[in-house]
């Protein structure tokens, strides 16, 4: 009986605005493991998918930023719970995608869950670290408060397909940004499965949009897009990084430059990635009113 069953060959889709559309272009590409064996078909996103993803992120951003910090923390914690529930599946995907041992893959998935919990805790605390009450020579209270930058384009790390992805997306999202992520080009499977986790957690549609495809094709469109407010070049190819920075300057995007080499994501992060995509608002308030 089991021998005659037809194998289900999955075709993964994009994740835009809380939905799973095919690429507008209709294109897909084959993802293989290290030895070249077929793993899955994955959507090959185009310029127009970038456009749709940015529009979806823009629509979702103000409500997400307007949610209470407590609520954003709860949502991130919920994502961690959902990821934990599907631990075995992610371990298998990381093993297939990154050609690592099951032991290392388990450590990756566990750390990814921990990372989400860690950032969830920051939701109502980062403002205390990045904000301040400023002494001024006048009868005013003067506060500086960090606010979300807006729509952030994220080029996910190329090597670490799950832990690296979570480590760059969670800090951007927790402060109230909406993101458009381009997943690792050769190892997109944990990312598209993470999208399924995001869709079944309480994250509002459009806060995280995930594209799979060629980084070289999608990143210049994101960098030049005038409705994108910031860009994380973490997974950008070295040859492209300078051009992307230059294109991003046309509407003065906030840019987080790529690291020289992909960092060790197992190390406990600092708040720096969260604070890279916030804007400081300073308020003068008359004393006694």
């Amino acid at each position: 009986m089991s021998d005659s069953r037809i194998e289900v060959r999955k075709t993964y889709k994009l994740y835009i605005g809380g939905m799973f559309p095919r690429s507008e272009s209709g294109r897909t590409f084959v993802v293989s493991d290290e030895r070249g064996a077929f793993l899955a078909n994955v959507a090959l996103a185009s310029r127009k998918d970038v456009r749709d993803a940015v529009a979806a992120a823009r629509r979702a951003q103000s409500r997400w930023a307007g949610a209470t910090a407590y609520n954003r923390g709860q949502v991130l914690y919920r994502i961690a719970e959902m990821l934990e529930d599907r631990r075995a599946q992610f371990v298998e995907l990381v093993v297939l995608s990154e050609a690592v041992s099951a032991r290392i893959a388990r450590a990756c998935v566990d750390t990814a869950v921990d990372r989400l919990v860690w950032y969830a805790g920051w939701a109502d605390k980062f403002a205390q670290v990045a904000g301040s009450s400023n002494p001024v020579a006048g009868p005013y209270f003067n506060f500086s408060i960090p606010e979300a930058t807006g729509v952030v384009a994220v080029l996910a790390p190329q090597a670490s397909s799950l832990l690296g992805l979570v480590s760059v997306v969670a800090p951007a999202v927790v402060t109230g940004n909406a993101v458009v992520v381009v997943a690792s080009e050769l190892r997109p499977l944990p990312a598209v499965t993470l999208a399924e986790v995001l869709a079944s957690s309480d994250l509002p549609g459009g806060v995280v949009n995930l594209l799979t495809g060629r980084v070289g094709e999608l990143s210049p469109v994101l960098a030049a897009h005038r409705d994108v407010d910031a860009m994380d070049l973490c997974g950008a190819p070295a040859a492209l990084a300078t051009d992307l920075e230059r294109a991003a300057a046309t509407n003065v995007k906030r840019v987080l430059r790529p690291p020289l080499a992909e960092p060790d994501w197992m190390e406990l992060p600092t708040p720096s990635r969260m604070l890279a995509f916030v804007e400081t608002k300073t308020v003068w308030h008359p004393i006694g009113i």
Binding site: V50, R58, H225
Partner: protein, 334 residues
């Protein structure tokens, strides 16, 4: 008044020539009595709902690229009636809108002006003053907009106040209650009376197709408006959902095409409400070209009643010129 051909459309061709055997030889007989209108409506070929929806669905897949797209976007911009019809409209807001209507994108002088600014009658004077010396017309909604529920005398006073204030175009609403109750003559007489009150101003007749239930009713009301002397038939007030849709636009365009064949009078079509994206606007232009023909691809014959559409047209235009996606912050908001 009787010499005005718009007021008294005459059939130029016989029913045989038109391929429409039931077409009356005298249109004035049609509108002389309730019975005449009913007979005429009885002879109007019915609208094939499935056919209409299938046809627009097919036309909507047509893709317009590169320089044709750029030309189409410019054409759509020049056809926009930039509209603000809120209770909260202020003279300042209307002046700002007029500035945008004159020059939609101040950084790019190649962007054409829009066709008109559409406001409530009490703000016509403000708009008129702000648009002096430009090609942009001032349109005013009137006749108990948006419900159309008032005495004829009140509606006419409304129209006259708009025209006296300098409105170049009057957008009247028909009495949908009377139409749906079958009192066609009452609707016709009202349109005729408003047309007379308009004087030199162009008359657009709002059919509020979202309340008319069937495509046949849309077609009938369009004929009623054209017989009454409308210069334009317009889909919606923008206050009722659904507002403009592609199938309704197709039905209206077929009606004005048939009216042109029968009488030689070219009536325009204005689609209003719910058109927010440039992509939608281009789809309407395709339907216009394929239904009424290229003669209607002109701001004098086809208009978009919209406000947020203009910014999307500008964004797509900039995308087409620079290759980079524009952001909404690049253009002024109404």
């Amino acid at each position: 008044m009787a010499s005005n051909t718009q007021l008294e459309p005459v059939s130029r061709r016989t029913g045989q020539q038109l391929g429409w055997p039931g077409f009356p030889s005298s249109l004035s007989e049609v509108t002389a009595s309730e019975l005449g209108i009913r007979r005429f409506f009885g002879g109007l070929p019915g609208v094939d709902q499935v056919g209409v929806e299938g046809r627009v669905a097919a036309l909507a897949t047509r893709s317009i690229k590169a320089s044709s797209k750029l030309a189409a976007l410019d054409m759509a911009i020049s056809m926009v009636d930039l509209t603000t019809l809120e209770g909260a409209d202020t003279p300042g807001k209307v002046r700002a809108l007029c500035g945008k209507a004159r020059q939609p994108a101040p950084l790019d002088p190649d962007v054409p002006s829009v066709a008109a600014v559409c406001v409530y009658p009490d703000l016509v004077e403000v708009a008129k003053a702000a648009l002096t010396g430009s090609s942009v017309a001032v349109a005013s909604v009137a006749a108990a907009f948006p419900s159309g529920r008032a005495e004829l005398a009140v509606k006419l006073a409304d129209v006259r106040s708009a025209v006296d204030a300098g409105a170049d175009e009057v957008d009247m609403v028909i009495d949908r209650g009377a139409f749906l109750a079958g009192r066609y003559l009452a609707v016709f007489d009202e349109i005729r009376a408003v047309k007379e009150a308009c004087g030199q101003a162009h008359l657009k007749v709002i059919l509020e197709t979202g309340e008319l239930v069937t495509y046949d009713n849309v077609k009938r009301s369009a004929w009623l408006a054209m017989l009454g002397g409308a210069d334009f038939v317009k889909t919606s007030t923008g206050k009722v959902s659904p507002a403009a849709t592609l199938p309704v636009a197709l039905v209206l365009l077929e009606a004005v095409r048939d009216f042109d064949e029968a009488t030689g009078a070219k009536v325009g079509v204005k689609v209003a409400g719910g058109i927010r994206s440039a992509k939608d606007a281009l789809r309407y232009l395709v339907v216009v070209k394929e239904t009424a023909g290229e003669e209607w691809l002109d701001p004098a014959r086809f208009r978009f009643g919209a406000s947020s559409l203009l910014n999307d047209l500008l964004m797509q235009r900039s995308k087409q010129l620079t290759g980079e996606y524009a952001g909404p912050e690049d253009f002024s908001k109404e």
